[in-house]
Point group: C2
Chain length 408, copies 2
């Protein structure tokens, strides 16, 4: 199957009634820069990158600039050594001055890379998770670019890690029967009233969720505390509650407020400060212990993840395949995190569509902990195969590809 | 003077014959995304952001998106509280998902911010350095956004630092008579032959330069070593020689090669590895001591600079006002660096046009060391007031504004 052309679509979805709001982003418009690989068959590869609307067209334009070398390539031949192509694209000598490995151009790379993996899985008639599990350790590592990680993870170490995991896979394949647990992010969006978050909490628990997220970062920290206590009271002591500040605090503020919020026994506090501040997160993590810090949705590449992981600045790694350089860099970061013994709990800019595949692979193929995956339902009507949750568990996707197809 | 409209120009300049080449970027096309503020007077504010060509149009488009809130603003009123505007633009809730504070959108902010400072100085009929020196500490700090730096530099500390510097300014104003020393980056571009770098070294020294830069990062490290030794032999032991790897090495490679290159007694080694790798730079700096690491041209914002400075990962801070969020963020990073006692030696994506002003202010107004400023002559023909060097010293610019006007 050959890639004949690369086109883009700029898809933006307005959310209703406070959904998606956080302390920084009050009226988000969930948007995808969509990369479409057309082939000599009927099959199309679809790749997503996630933005909040404005500038989504810039990502589409950047896809046009990056994609030229892929036209004419045969998909199996391309993916057999995709790491080399990835690096050549990521280090495109002029475009990398717009990064490198961050911002609009790197989001464009995400969409392009994701389309390649989607096409690859579709061409083999396999769901992405199954494609990844079928690859040998060498073949998997050949899809990655491990440059600039050599001080922490060499190619040899990556292959060894995957090979070692293969021996014990059968112990972890039970997840293909149970499905992968989800957690509900949508009970406590920032703009929601107290009444609404209480009602949402009840509904979520009735539907089988036992892990919930609340947006914090209010101008008045007492609002955060009140809402957090409301959810804790409603959900009970056994529930898992995560708090998400979306970068709202500076380091001294975070140190003070996190201490107060720890009263409700949060499972993690997410994005307590600026996403580039490795040492700030480390200081907050130290001060908050035994409570834990999660971050990742705004960390653009493997090198910054490496620093966060090395510094002990994140206890949960929230890498997102539609926010870093695609599935390839997601897997690279997952290997890094495994090497440094930190669990991966993806952020889902893709609404879990792609990540429902990736967490299955991470758990079975890489021995990452079977924890839970974020669930956000707001774009269900727009996907051809929306992720299906039953009693709070993602059902194992069976359709070929990465479940990224959007209804026109 | 009111801003009536904001337009952009996409200017790209092809360089001749290997000029500008480095280990990563072999055929650069020096380019500016130019922001033009038109006013109700004849005066225009001109702001530059620097790229290597491809995607320069994306930066121009992002300027269009960011600039809307500035239309109609009166320049004195705008600049009296510019820090607030800066933060609002940098944290534009949707566009910040394309960063935040990095990549295409942040480069667009650079051009916009630089145009505001240029217009402000022109409207007062002052060269930028003089405008900045005339501001009170409070007025200067009002042009900055110090958010996310509070753990290292508060507003009060910034004002105190500037106030303390004011008392001793007269000791440092001699630089207005001597001019600011330049260093020559153009003797040793990566693609130049051995003969050419020897000839260039001789010419540079004949013209009064005593500090020179050589590009390293060859596939064969012996080429780097040979060229470095050639320049050292030609220039003599008294000359200051800087080596620049442009991110070519991973950390283990850098540790090995830097040790070998230290034989020629380099003043610094620049960008030894990936620009996001704070801890990698720290490891290299530790291993190279007493030789020193410089970096900054690919560090996009104050938060990452904060981490580099906190970690002891850079001995020279090469912040560039056309690569971070403009003159405002340049000054913010300069204050941070002063607070943490690290000299600022800017990278000059602007070919020194704006930075010739900024180093005068940094030295006189902020007590930064009077070291030297990079000089690159390749775009002289295109500037209305090209920087003027005499016997290796930048002459103090006298034209109103930031010397950013380009010939059409």
């Amino acid at each position: 199957m050959h890639i004949q052309s690369v086109t883009t679509r700029d898809r933006r979805f307005t959310l209703a009634d406070g959904a998606g709001s956080d302390a920084i982003h009050r009226t988000p418009q969930y948007s995808y820069a969509v990369c479409v690989l057309k082939t000599d068959a009927a099959t199309e590869g679809i790749g997503l990158a996630f933005t909040l609307g404005a500038g989504n067209d810039l990502v589409c334009r950047a896809i046009d600039y990056l994609s030229e070398p892929l036209v004419g390539r045969e998909i199996e031949e391309l993916m057999a050594d995709f790491g080399t192509t990835y690096r050549a694209l990521a280090d495109s000598p002029s475009l990398r001055w717009l990064g490198p490995h961050k911002g609009v151009v790197h989001l464009a790379l995400a969409a392009l890379v994701n389309a390649c993996f989607d096409l690859w899985a579709k061409s083999r008639q396999l769901p992405l998770w199954k494609l990844l599990l079928d690859l040998s350790p060498e073949a998997l590592v050949n899809t990655l670019d491990l440059s600039y990680l050599e001080d922490v993870l060499t190619r040899r170490q990556a292959i060894d890690l995957l090979t070692k995991s293969q021996a014990t896979r059968s112990c972890r394949e039970n997840v293909l029967k149970t499905g992968y647990k989800g957690y509900d992010t949508s009970v406590g969006w920032f703009n929601f009233s107290d009444e609404r978050i209480v009602a949402n909490t009840k509904t979520a628990m009735d539907r089988g969720f036992t892990a919930l997220k609340l947006k914090v970062g209010s101008t008045d920290p007492q609002r955060d505390l009140r809402r957090a206590e409301l959810i804790r009271e409603t959900a009970g002591d056994a529930a898992t509650i995560m708090l998400d500040a979306n970068q709202r605090w500076n380091v001294p503020q975070a140190l003070t407020i996190c201490r107060e919020l720890s009263r409700i026994n949060p499972f993690w506090i997410e994005e307590p400060t600026h996403p580039d501040d490795v040492l700030g997160h480390r200081a907050i993590a130290d001060a908050m212990a035994p409570y834990k810090v999660a971050t990742g949705e705004h960390i653009p590449n493997k090198v910054i993840f490496k620093n966060f992981l090395q510094a002990g600045a994140m206890a949960f790694c929230q890498v997102d395949a539609v926010r870093v350089g695609g599935i390839s860099e997601f897997l690279t970061v997952s290997l890094l995190a495994k090497q440094l013994n930190i669990p991966v709990v993806p952020h889902v800019g893709d609404m879990g569509q792609i990540h429902q595949h990736l967490v299955l692979f991470n758990h079975i193929g890489m021995e990452h902990e079977n924890l839970f995956l974020e669930h956000i339902p707001h774009l269900r009507p727009y996907f051809t195969h929306p992720a299906d949750l039953v009693r709070g568990y993602y059902q194992v996707p069976q359709e070929p590809g990465s479940s990224s197809d959007l209804i026109d």
